[in-house]
Structure formats: structure tokens, C-alpha cells
């Protein structure tokens, strides 16, 4: 472990304090002073956030708020201008075995010549390695993951034949195959049908109930209170983070969305008192 990356932890340990006091070690995912920029303007600016173990959390904010970027920067998919990310107290780069990422559905070419089952088997790459043979147990794992998202009958389909919701479920099945402790999902409910939304949230809640951690980039404010335990409100900078019951307030939403959120809209949300 590269301790030089983690001055906070090292200090806390040196002081003889429990490592959890650093606020990192007991988090499934923690980002510190994360700044990302694609051009002149930062997409994410100096964000500190942490996501507790065994929680189902949402990252919420308007379009262009840097929600997906924050996730990608934490994973090291996009370059960070500054900051670092830890998972379970160690740098994210070294925790690949415990993290499963579900990218935005639109980020890949669904005309790619491959079948549903092959995509799910990609989730077993770290087990299979370069040349390991795909054995019956691997196929069984992949099939049972497809079954968990209700897609077991589609294993041999070409992926381009799936509807948007089915594609999203296949991506979730691939992540399930990784048997991870931390699931990071980028807009898993974007453009999916109601049946898919129900199937996905059921799986995510089941993961949470198994003491795993789930973090979703989410855009639908009306479902935040129903689906999630915790929420991070983001608009380039962090506006608020914490349990939905405490921070999902009209005040915080106004700060996050500015004038873009009509008052009528706010009235329909199940907001926390505050």
C-alpha cells in the first residue's frame, strides 16, 4: 500500500488514533479534494465525499454537475487534476477486486459482435485471466447473474437485439459476476422501462442488505427518497452529503439546482424536513 498517497491515514495511525478517525477507512468509498477539468472550467471542484459501508447512496445534481465525472475520476477512468480516492481505506487502483463499475449504457457500441453471455463473462476477467479456460462453473455463475436481473432467456442473443432496459440489466449482471463489495453505477435508471427500473432497484437493495455498498449517479429526484439511504448533492462542488432524511431538503435542492428547479416540482418530492 502506497502510504505516501494517504497522509491523512498515516497521521491518524501515528497519533495512535483508530484509523477510522481519518474518515476514510470506514468508508467503502472516499474521495478527497477531487478536482477534474476537461477544459478551462473544472467539471468537479475540490470535492470531499465518503460513502459508508452497507449503504445505498445516490449522487444527485443537474446536468453538467460532474456526477459521472466524479465517479470516473474516483475510478481513475478520467485523469484527476488533484485529489485521491480510496476504497475500504486503500487506493482505489489497488482495490479493483472489490469494486464493480456499471458504466452508462450509451458509453459502448451495442452493435459490437458479441452475445449477452459473453458480456457477463467479461465480469469474470480477473478470475479467468489471459488464457484461463471458461469452465462450466464460470458459465453457471454468468447464467445465475443473468437470472438475478431476469435476463436468463437472453444469454445467446446478440447484444444489439436488446432493448435499452435489457442492455442495462446485462451491464448490471456483468457487475454482479464480479461479486464485489462496492458497486458504482452511472445512471442505471436512465431511459429504462418501468419493469427494468423495478428489477434493478430490487437487486441494488438486495446488495445493500448483504452489507455491500452501492453508489448510483441518479437524475430522478422523485425516486431519491424511495430508493436511497444516503445522498450526495453535487453541482461541480459538493452541496451536501448525508442520510436522505437529513440532507434531501428543499433548501439544499435549491442550492444544487439554482433556478432550474420549479417550486411546483419541489412540492411533489418527499423531502426531509429542514
Amino acid at each position: 500500500m502506497a502510504q505516501t498517497d494517504l497522509p491523512n491515514i498515516v497521521l491518524a495511525a501515528n497519533d495512535g488514533q483508530p484509523v477510522r478517525d481519518a474518515g476514510l477507512a470506514d468508508s467503502a468509498l472516499a474521495v478527497r479534494e477531487m478536482t477534474v477539468s476537461y477544459g478551462q472550467k473544472p467539471a468537479v471542484f475540490s470535492v470531499d465525499a465518503s460513502f459508508g459501508e452497507g449503504r445505498l447512496a445516490a449522487i444527485v445534481g443537474p446536468n453538467g454537475a460532474g456526477k459521472s465525472t466524479l465517479l470516473k475520476a474516483a475510478l481513475g477512468i478520467v485523469p484527476r487534476l488533484s485529489g485521491h480516492a480510496t476504497a475500504f481505506g486503500i487506493p482505489v487502483e489497488h482495490a479493483a477486486d472489490r469494486i464493480a463499475y456499471v458504466p452508462q449504457r450509451a458509453s459502448v457500441d451495442w452493435e459490437f459482435p458479441t452475445r449477452v453471455i459473453d458480456v457477463v463473462l467479461m465480469g469474470l476477467y480477473r478470475q479467468l485471466g489471459l488464457l484461463g479456460r471458461v469452465r462450466t462453473k464460470h458459465l453457471d455463475t454468468a447464467r445465475s447473474c443473468l437470472a438475478r436481473v431476469g435476463m436468463e432467456d437472453f444469454a445467446d442473443r446478440q447484444i444489439g437485439q436488446l432493448s435499452g432496459g435489457q442492455q442495462q440489466r446485462v451491464f448490471l449482471a456483468r457487475a454482479l459476476a464480479q461479486d464485489a463489495d462496492l458497486y458504482l453505477l452511472d445512471e442505471p435508471f436512465a431511459g429504462v422501462d418501468a419493469a427494468t427500473e423495478k428489477a434493478i432497484i430490487d437487486v441494488l437493495k438486495a446488495l445493500r442488505d448483504e452489507q455491500r455498498t452501492v453508489v448510483c449517479v441518479h437524475h430522478d429526484l422523485t425516486t431519491v427518497a424511495d430508493y436511497f439511504d444516503d445522498v450526495l448533492l453535487l453541482n461541480v462542488r459538493k452541496i451536501a452529503e448525508g442520510p436522505v432524511a437529513q440532507v434531501f431538503t428543499a433548501d439544499n435542492l435549491q442550492k444544487t439546482y439554482g433556478g432550474r428547479l420549479a417550486t411546483v416540482h419541489i412540492d411533489q418530492l418527499r423531502l426531509a424536513a429542514g
Binding site: 479493483a96 463499475y101 459502448v108 452493435e111 459490437f112 458479441t114 467479461m122 437485439q161
Partner: protein, 307 residues
């Protein structure tokens, strides 16, 4: 044509043509899926200035300086394309177009200014190669295939492209999973620990090596055609990458063989007198196969459209 004549005149060009086609088609599959098909085009053009520089520096038409020059030019081009793309903020197709046309034109100027007119290094050679001239004088019969002395007389292009094609096939097999995974979903591939930038860069370098090795024997027309036509036709035959790559190898070999035969005999059949350029005919055949696949391939319907 008797067996002996076939072996002397046609065997080596045929094998070289087939191996060149396969060496280019294999990386072509992945370049097309990554929407980088033009990079094969770019590389096969930029090797011209590299070969001229290699010639000027070494002062002789010898293989290694020219190969090194070509490889160097390919790497310079890849770096330039990335630079133009980032600094100029334009899409990569346009960046490739800017870089490879400029470098190719620079190569033509270099050729004209330098003292190369006396040797067989000219623009036509760069485009069409010299496939027909790669005869095997010592191949006097089938027995020559087992005679070490006769085998030593094989054109030097043959063992070179054979080595490159075998190496590319081996690399494709060994790194199949990372290649497929990072081509399909680069962001995800990175989260499972794959060095996706390195994989992408290596793919381009491998394509460059294939282009340089094939360019020498068959010219840039075949190289460009083989990067794109066999994989694109293969995509229309199947919905699985494993089978697509096998189909692309079959189409590449088929183009090379039928194109070579058609170039040699087609004009005679039609009443003409002279054979036509084998390289040109191979590229045309590859295009015809692509067209046939478009018309009759079982997976030509965009698979996203549901019936």
C-alpha cells in the same frame, strides 16, 4: 502452366500476398470496431517518407534501414495524430487526414529531390508494390520445397512477412480477452485493471508493423484494402467476434489468391494480352467480396433493428 512454372513464378507471390492480407486483416478487425479504420490508411501512407529517409541515410536499397525508417515514420505519425487531435481539438479522422496526406506528400517531394530515380524506389512501387517480381528462381519443382539450398533462394520478403503474420496471429490469440474487453468497453476494462491506453497503443504499433512488412512486398493499396475490407465483410457474416476474425482471415486469403489469379489470367480470358497489376486486382477483389457480403451476408441487417 506446369507445376514447375507455378512454383517458380506464382508460389512466392501468392504466399506473400496471402500472408500480407492476413497480417493486415487481423488488427483491422479491432481498428474498425474502435472506429480507427483510417489509421491503417494513415500508416500505409506515412511509411513512404520513412522509407525514403531510410534510403537516403543508408545510401542503398537495403531492407533494414528502410524498414526502420518506415517504422519510425509510423510512430512519428501516431504521435503527430494524437497531438493534432488534442491541440487542434478536432476529431481523430480529420487529424489522421491532415497528418498522413502531409507526410505522404513530403515523401513524394523527398523522392523527387533525391537521387532515387535510378532505383526501383518510386511512387508507383509505393502504391502497387512489386508482387509479380517476387519470383523464386530456385523453385524448379515441388522437390525444391524440401531443398534447403533452393529455399535459401526464396525472396527475402517471404520469411519476413511470414514471421510478422505469425507474430500477429500469436499476439491476437494470447491477448484476445484484454483486446476484446477494452475494445468493447474501455472505461470498464480499466476498472478491472487492464492498461487500456497501452493496449490501444500496442494495437496501433502492431498495425504499423503489419503495414510496413506488407508495404514492401505488395504496396500500400493492398495494405489499405486489407485493413478494412475483409473485417468489414466478415462483420456482416456473423454476430460473434471470434467468428468475425476467422471470417476476415478467410476473406483476406480468398482476396489475395483470387485477385492474383484474376490479374494473371483474367485479361487473357477476355482477349487481352498483358496481365494487370496483381496488387490492384487483389484490392478490387477484396472490395467485391465486401460488396457481396453487403448484399448477401446473413447479418447485414443492422442488428439493432428488431424485426
Amino acid at each position: 502452366m506446369s507445376g514447375a512454372e507455378f512454383i517458380q513464378i506464382s508460389l512466392a507471390p501468392l504466399v506473400i500476398g496471402v500472408l500480407s492480407a492476413i497480417a493486415c486483416a487481423l488488427p483491422g478487425n479491432f481498428l474498425i470496431l474502435r472506429r480507427q479504420a483510417l489509421i491503417g490508411d494513415a500508416i500505409s501512407h506515412v511509411v513512404l517518407p520513412g522509407i525514403v529517409v531510410g534510403f537516403l541515410v543508408s545510401g542503398a536499397v537495403s531492407t533494414w534501414p528502410m524498414m526502420i525508417g518506415a517504422a519510425g515514420a509510423a510512430i512519428v505519425a501516431v504521435v503527430l495524430i494524437e497531438t493534432v487531435r488534442r491541440v487542434g481539438r478536432i476529431e481523430s479522422g480529420a487529424a489522421m487526414g491532415v497528418v498522413f496526406t502531409s507526410m505522404f506528400a513530403f515523401g513524394v517531394l523527398l523522392l523527387e529531390q533525391s537521387d532515387t530515380s535510378g532505383v526501383h524506389l518510386d511512387v508507383e512501387h509505393a502504391l502497387y508494390g512489386n508482387l509479380e517480381s517476387l519470383i523464386w528462381l530456385d523453385g524448379t519443382g515441388w522437390a525444391a520445397l524440401l531443398d534447403p539450398a533452393a529455399l535459401a533462394g526464396l525472396p527475402a520478403e517471404l520469411p519476413r512477412i511470414a514471421f510478422v503474420a505469425a507474430a500477429i496471429a500469436l499476439l491476437t490469440l494470447v491477448f484476445w480477452r484484454p483486446l476484446k474487453l477494452s475494445t468493447f468497453d474501455e472505461g470498464y476494462a480499466r476498472t478491472v485493471g487492464l492498461p487500456t491506453s497501452l493496449i490501444g497503443f500496442t494495437l496501433v504499433v502492431v498495425a504499423a508493423i503489419a503495414a510496413v512488412a506488407a508495404f514492401d512486398a505488395v504496396g500500400s493499396i493492398i495494405v489499405i484494402a486489407m485493413f478494412i475490407c475483409p473485417p468489414a465483410a466478415a462483420r456482416l457474416m456473423t454476430d460473434r467476434l471470434e467468428r468475425q476474425v476467422l471470417w476476415s482471415v478467410v476473406f483476406a486469403a480468398l482476396s489475395a489468391v483470387s485477385g492474383y489469379v484474376l490479374a494473371g489470367y483474367g485479361p487473357l480470358w477476355l482477349g487481352g494480352e498483358h496481365a494487370i497489376s496483381a496488387a490492384g486486382m487483389i484490392a478490387v477483389t477484396a472490395g467485391v467480396i465486401m460488396a457481396l457480403a453487403c448484399l448477401f451476408g446473413p447479418h447485414r441487417k443492422a442488428s439493432g433493428q428488431r424485426s
